[in-house]
Symmetry: C2
Subunit: 440 residues, 2 copies
Amino acid sequence: MTVDRQHFRTLLAEGVAIPTVSMDPDRAADMARGAEWAAETIRSLGGEATILRTSGWPTVHGRFRAEGATRSIAIYNHLDVQPANEPEWRTEPFVLTEVGDTWYGRGATDDKGPALAALFAAARSRQAGVPLDIHFIWEFEEEIGSPNFDEALARIPGPFDSVLVSDTIWISRDVPASPLGLRGMQTFTLNLRTASHDTHSGLVGGAARNPLLELAELIAAMVDAESGRVKIPGFYDGVRQTDEATLEGFVRAGFDVERFRKAHGLTSLRDLDPRIVTQKLWTLPTMELHGLAGGYQGPGVKSAVPPWGEAKMSMRLVPDMTAEGALARVRDFVSVHHPEVEVVAGPGLEPYMCPSDAAQIPHLAAALKHAFGKEPAFVREGGSIGAVVRMARHWQCPVLFMGLSLPEHGYHAPNENFDWPMAQGGIAAFEHYFRSQGTC
Amino acid sequence: MTVDRQHFRTLLAEGVAIPTVSMDPDRAADMARGAEWAAETIRSLGGEATILRTSGWPTVHGRFRAEGATRSIAIYNHLDVQPANEPEWRTEPFVLTEVGDTWYGRGATDDKGPALAALFAAARSRQAGVPLDIHFIWEFEEEIGSPNFDEALARIPGPFDSVLVSDTIWISRDVPASPLGLRGMQTFTLNLRTASHDTHSGLVGGAARNPLLELAELIAAMVDAESGRVKIPGFYDGVRQTDEATLEGFVRAGFDVERFRKAHGLTSLRDLDPRIVTQKLWTLPTMELHGLAGGYQGPGVKSAVPPWGEAKMSMRLVPDMTAEGALARVRDFVSVHHPEVEVVAGPGLEPYMCPSDAAQIPHLAAALKHAFGKEPAFVREGGSIGAVVRMARHWQCPVLFMGLSLPEHGYHAPNENFDWPMAQGGIAAFEHYFRSQGTC
């Protein structure tokens, strides 16, 4: 075993042993211990570290100064984790367990392992005298939507030439993958009240309005359930066209429709063609109905006519849509089709797209090819990472992604794991990239 | 105060004081006490009484024999009541409180007061030597859907020339009203599963199916929310046409659209024309969505794609539809439009219609006119009373309705009440009717 691997495993085991479950309010002591450990770990590898306290859980800011550096980069990871109460765990989730090259434990791949890989690369770069100022932003609230991240952001000394986020998943182990964009998100509810209380479907049924039926009809007019296509006029006006080469790249990244279906426990998909599936996941907006509250939810059928309904919905947004614009389309449609229905907007997250001419893209490709021996595929991320758009706006710089997780690593799942080949390749990729950023 | 009124009030106060809440399993002692009191009360007025125990709450069978009688009638009431935990009660719900001619208390109008009115009339008829064998069927499970009524039914010595049910509401105090028919009911659920568990709308959204969207679209195809019209082909084939005279009678009964709207706390109705409203309430079927289970129901929006959905639905049915036939139309429609959706049927209740040539109809009209001074209106009941169809089938005889409740009596509502004018008129109407049945 190499010295590096032993050192990496020791630190990852220490990190995994601290259950930094950000959504559990009883974990305050563990969260504090996690931040202390993070700062100590950065220092032990030769960096400076500060714990930035916020109204919620802290963010740790690390820094590896380089003599004479004129360029700077920030690496974003998060050290909070999902809960690990699934009965399917085969090992203790908060004890790192090694099986061959694989390390099992909550947080191993999401996102403590990748954070340590970047940290190792920064330490090496410093020893090698790479003239790049490398900052680390290790958040502890990512899994709960980064509610207090802005407080930390304001106290991190920028600006940076770019930000590198290491918290994404390749499509397949065979091809390094880096997303160039993220979808945004806008949640909203459709609310309708037609009576003051439950009424008797025998006494009033037929004459009384039914708010759940009216909402179901409105929603059916808004979106085609079979294809997922949003039927609201003009909804796709702002959607940036995706070129053929990009779509080919998505498939080349190793996207396998059947593997995707099984991995997520889906009985079937809307489409079978990988070009269409990836487009719907990454470059097209969605409209979902997450729940219809207001009626009876228990066993069997209680036959009251419900007095109100609330449809809980969301849209995932893609470049160049805006949360405000998409919401305005919904409001306009509802005001024409059912003016009595109230649209209540939740928080909006804008979509993100790395500028296609960003100078860092070829450097990132070269670093991944150097480390993993294969030309990487540039893909997209269907989800939304709140911190990304905020950092891009705050520092007015491109944000790029160098994730080291694989589908089989079990993000947010029982038996989460990370492995030494991805860690080792990751360290090499980060080191190569840091060199390119320091000398370009 | 007349002797009758004092006696009536005393018995009603005794009855109301026993909280015979059939849906509360902790009320076993009260239910037993209620049955004992019912039997004792029948005996105290000169009848015979037996408590028929069932697997659930009992039914009390009473009988007033008449010398030389060749004809017999059964009067159906129920002595179980709704709970009374509404904060809007202004008096103790289980203490009869007299204000002028009005008596407040849970069960006063539904259905203990009307039961006592019929009982008083039977006692008088017996004293007057009316040659009619009068039976009482006092159920204690009506408010929970009469699950064990068949067990009691089998032990009541029939057959009868007719059954008279006294558990319905006039449309207005100004005009005596008697329904000639009831709607039936068929509940069902539409079930669809598209994944094994909640999935992440960022990771899978767009490609993954959404069972709530698919069910909303199916339901929107089945029923027009605005009018309530069922869009399933052939759904109305079995619906008996209603003639002009019948519709005129509905309006003449005193049906006031605005009063109806307010009484039920509805913000607006599907229609404003009383002929259309009454038709939709009484002579047309319905299709309702009572709840859509399977997604997120809490505050705000949780953006998971739900793995399954269950639409909780019902149809009210009118003559000459059958529960089986209506359900078959639904199954056929679903099997064509979304064959993956499973239709799970609940219990079915057939609609009921008194034969239009039943000899008792003119007797009932004469009795109501004699007692209340006005020609009664024959209407319909939009709800379903499980016992009615069972009694009509069991004894192969017409079932008619002589209800004594008014809209302002607050059926199933706080401050339920009954009043002496309706009790007094009711006693007279029953007595007149018993005379006509004994001598026809």
